[in-house]
Symmetry: C2
Subunit: 440 residues, 2 copies
């Protein structure tokens, strides 16, 4: 038994088990949009994403199993949710239990006194899960959430499945969650089988392959209630007359090209395809009836700024500086910008100039990495300090400054690894397997 993956807890005479993990967020560069089977969550096309570092953004999940628990229970960010009413959640748990059961039936597990009495697959679970990013950040938490759930279940049950097999289980919770089962650059093979057996994620290139690849998450203010991605993609499949062409002819070619670009560290091609595929995803949303709009005026201005950045010339030689940044937008107004490390500072200068912090917001609250990036010990670091007028002057010709607070926060991160087991002491459960922190 790998003690880092699963802890044994003795509560009086009872032995209980617990597993805690953190799992990363992933941001697609070839977008998943459209299901061919909505129960098994099988997509109309393959997709590809970058896993972002868990050091910055993650879901943490602790699962405690006890013979004494009377029901499966779940707490999400301190609030209890009903397990039974979520078919997707129940599906994931049932699938993991079925695999555990199989091991037990074939005597492939090391039994303890506790599990001999009653097999672990029959114990009830307390699942406690928290995101380290606020829901208000507008980042989809279902991918990291279901990846954490399935990894914690796998560790708790000591399943002998590899990450690709586990990705099929997390896919049942949320399609894009299957990609969060790996670090680095990850493809979700859409597959063709009605059973879903060939619909899984695998690692195209690990985190270590391209360490200079960084990302900026721009959290955009929006007061509009958006369309959920589940209902949105279903309407697109049913009504967009351009959608079939995307799935059939365009995505397969792009996927092949972007994988080659990743493997050869060709940032320019990687970036172009990333931007084109983001735009096309939003194009088929607009071709949906009624149309779906996820990008707002701020999002569109970010697109414009990135294209200006990519068309900059060297002030002396007049030679193009080349494509150095790529935007991508999911089902909301937030942007993720991929860029190599050496361009992050310049990008942050531009972004913070044209989308300045809210009036009462400190620069550090707006951009928590401020002091690191700008190598400053100045307590009063603000836009006027970090913005380079020389750099910005060209952009002013075709960019207007947005109202303060149009971007609420810039999160600086990079490519990261897959789900991590964490020690019991860092888990979210207290001694009796209840949330350490719970909202009233």
């Amino acid at each position: 038994m790998d003690s880092t993956k699963r802890a044994s807890i003795y509560t009086g005479k009872n032995e209980e088990y617990e597993a805690s993990v953190t799992s990363p967020v992933n941001i697609a560069v070839i977008k998943y949009w459209g299901k061919r089977d909505s129960d098994l969550i099988l997509p109309t096309n393959s997709s590809l994403s970058c896993t972002l570092s868990q050091d910055d953004l993650h879901t943490k999940t602790t699962i405690r199993a006890s013979r004494l628990f009377e029901a499966d229970r779940l707490w999400l960010n301190g609030v209890e949710e009903q397990v039974a009413t979520s078919k997707r959640l129940s599906n994931c748990i049932a699938q993991a239990r079925a695999f555990r059961k199989e091991l037990e039936t074939n005597s492939q597990v090391v039994e303890t006194i506790a599990t001999k009495e009653r097999p672990l697959s029959e114990w009830k679970l307390h699942i406690i899960s928290e995101n380290n990013f606020p829901t208000a950040a507008g980042l989809a938490s279902s991918a990291s959430g279901y990846a954490a759930l399935v990894q914690a279940l796998a560790n708790l049950f000591e399943l002998t499945l590899d990450q690709t097999e586990l990705s099929k289980i997390s896919r049942l919770g949320s399609g894009s969650a299957c990609r969060s089962m790996f670090g680095g650059f990850v493809e979700w093979r859409g597959g063709e089988s009605p059973s879903g057996e060939d619909s899984y994620a695998y690692c195209v290139a690990p985190q270590s392959h391209w360490p200079s690849m960084h990302a900026l998450v721009l959290v955009v203010s929006d007061d509009k209630k958006g369309t959920s991605s589940t209902s949105g993609m279903s309407t697109t499949v049913n009504t967009s007359t351009l959608f079939a062409e995307r799935v059939k002819s365009i995505v397969p070619k792009r996927l092949q090209k972007i994988k080659e670009a990743i493997l050869s560290h060709d940032f320019s091609t990687f970036a172009e395809i990333t931007m084109q595929d983001s735009n096309q995803f939003h194009a088929v949303c607009m071709d949906t009836y009624p149309p779906i709009f996820y990008m707002n005026n701020t999002s569109k201005a970010i697109v414009h700024l990135v294209h200006l950045f990519n068309s900059q010339l060297h002030p002396e030689t007049n030679a193009p500086k080349g494509i150095r940044a790529a935007y991508t937008f999911d089902a909301g107004p937030n942007a993720v910008i991929y860029a190599e490390e050496q361009h992050i500072k310049e990008l942050v200068q531009l972004i913070s100039y044209f989308f300045p912090p809210a009036k009462a917001q400190s620069f550090r609250a707006y951009f928590p990495d401020a002091y690191k990036i700008f190598e400053s010990s100045d307590d009063h670091l603000d836009i006027s300090t970090v913005c380079d007028e020389q750099l910005i002057s060209d952009y002013k010709k075709s960019m207007v400054r947005f109202d303060p607070g149009s971007i609420r926060r810039i999160i600086h991160t990079r490519i990261g690894d897959g789900p991590r087991a964490i020690s019991h002491t860092c888990g979210l459960a207290n001694e009796i397997g209840m949330p350490k922190r719970a909202k009233d």
Copy 2:
């Protein structure tokens, strides 16, 4: 010689000729976007539009021909423009002159003393043109402008071409101008010939076919400098991977269906196709690289409002009220809403509630038809008077009120007729063939 079409003016011993016309704006419901030949302005697909009433929106053009003029000159809204530098303008004039020349060569014209001395096709022209809508209204004026130019040239030169032949000449000025050569519902047949001989407009149904068809032009505030449609459509053709599918498979079917809907007064089908085609045009703009965004947050909220309006239920029976309005957006943030006359009042109530006039703007400046539609003699007619709280309450659940002035003006109009010859006295030239009104 038809005196309503052409006037003879005696200036001392010299006889000059003058023609004045007004021409309508048209708003496409199947969009023209993409050229297969940019010199001859041949489109990648056929398109269909409604001609709007000249009583509300028009270009007025007067052309004076004189043996004494030394050069072709043009004044647009009081400002002189260089004729020679505009290839499109020169093309139209040259083509009309060539047809005149042909008539002269074949002795098909009634010669006067003046034209016998020197054929009219060799006289220089003064062209004076004005739009009755401000450029700031954001309405494309090239369609009505080139239609007026070509109609005035045809009248001045007494060309024996029918409107379809004239539409080919105006097409050389601006593609969509060919559709403004007719009233009612007009198709521009894209054609296939490289010469452009089969690329022309014709009337699908005249103005009188559907008199209850009205339109509201919503002039949306925007501080963004947009992409010109000429450069935008060229980038789309070159970079959008969805565009070919639209041209090849989607537009031909839609065109057929919407013509049937128009001929059978099927508003619901007409409206659905109109909205879907507007959305798809903006979808291929977004699929362009770099992407083109014409619709802003206000435009998108108008789309949402129209869909809410179309999904309204009868308060008593709960039966759907049906599709009663259709939005369409051209290469800018302005909306045109097509609706039958009996729904205009309700639409204006909703629009003016959610997009109220600017703070200092009177309701009449915001909606010049206010007193007619709301049958009021009240001098202080404003939103609070015209808005029906009962009607609006349902919409409030999923609509927020926009900042005052987000829509600057609502122009109420209907389907109109084609270019009209107007009398000399209403023309734009003074006695010596110069603009009556010119800016310094």
